[in-house]
Symmetry: C2
Subunit: 182 residues, 2 copies
DNA sequence: ACATTAATGTAGCGAGCGCTACAAGATATA
DNA sequence: TATATCTTGTAGCGCTCGCTACATTAATGT
């Protein structure tokens, strides 16, 4: 008569996966407790049973999303280190892949909330951003150490700029900038 | 008849200036009708008397903000055209000026809303972004035309990337990338 | 078997949201 | 002065929000 549910820790992580799906698909602004609960197949009441309050729900969900993205990024790392220009082109192509679009949209949404001085999102943004920086640095072919650090920083700037422009519909500008040299 | 019309037009533009102040200071998310009305020294009731609905209020306000920023940008244009690298450094410094921070925060907030497929903010973002592109192109010293277009696009990418990183607290990364060469 | 705790449903509170109905003062026009 | 129109205040509607109180059922330990 009763459906057999997983144990509570499993249940919680099942819920979190549903929350991550929803947030990736619909964004934070569409993530009321009631909407999240429905996406996770539970009730708002139960979300607040498993989590202290909404900010804890969002924090845990963003963590899950970030973990997923790390997996995807490792999947798509180029087999060998590339010079900066080639790497930018490679990453620009990858980030416009449908698989990554939801992450990029969420990423921009987080940055937007960090932009007004929301301390929570500022910190989330900084942690993820520095993760990108480290990951990117490992992809760049450059011997000189000082120059290597500088190029990693430039890479991050350009990647974030590309994400930004794509989100406001200026994909053509991105192509103009990084398309194959004439 | 035209007299009373222009009086109410003045009142409307007074209100719009107050709205622009508020939106720049506190962002769109803190801009409920009641909060906006208070900032403009009127009531929510009157806002909906002068404007059809909230989206019209926001559209008109963003227009005012954009017009103000154009003025500031013209003030701060460098006296002569610069090569790309120098221009990026110049603009990065200018955009972190306290005068421009509110614009950049709002700009990122708009991009964040465009990132989920909000058609209104996507269009606002595209118009403003292309304005930036044109403005930036006029600042770049580069003879070859094809190269000039490409450099303008690169400039826009880097500027938006810098705005992005600044907003999530990665100012140091920006400095690493564009600081004076060692 | 019984007691305890864990898990979940139901219902709703208080606040804020965009927006509107209604009436009344202010002003212009006849 | 009388009337019509422009402008504004008061009040509140219907909704969603995060969150909670209370009750009940399911599982577990003794």
């Amino acid at each position: 008569m009763s459906i057999k549910f997983s144990k509570s820790a499993d249940r919680r992580s099942d819920i979190l996966n549903g929350l991550a799906d929803h947030v990736l698909a619909h964004g934070l602004i569409a993530s009321s407790l009631r909407a999240l609960a429905k996406a996770a197949g539970t009730s708002d009441r139960m979300l607040l049973y498993y989590f202290k309050d909404k900010s804890e729900i969002i924090a845990a969900t963003v963590e899950v999303v970030a973990a997923r993205m790390v997996l995807h990024m490792n999947d798509m790392a180029s087999p060998q280190r590339l010079p900066l220009d080639a790497l930018v082109r490679h990453l620009a192509a990858v980030l416009s892949d449908p698989l990554f679009r939801p992450y990029m949209r969420l990423w921009l949404e987080i940055a937007g909330m960090a932009a007004r001085d929301d301390p929570f999102y500022t910190q989330v943004g900084e942690v993820i951003g520095r993760g990108f920086l480290t990951w990117g640095a490992a992809q760049i072919a450059e011997e000189n150490e000082g120059q290597h650090i500088r190029e990693a920083a430039k890479l991050l700037i350009m990647i974030e700029g590309i994400v930004f422009l794509n989100s406001i519909g200026l994909n053509d500008v991105v192509q103009t900038a990084i398309g194959n040299p004439a």
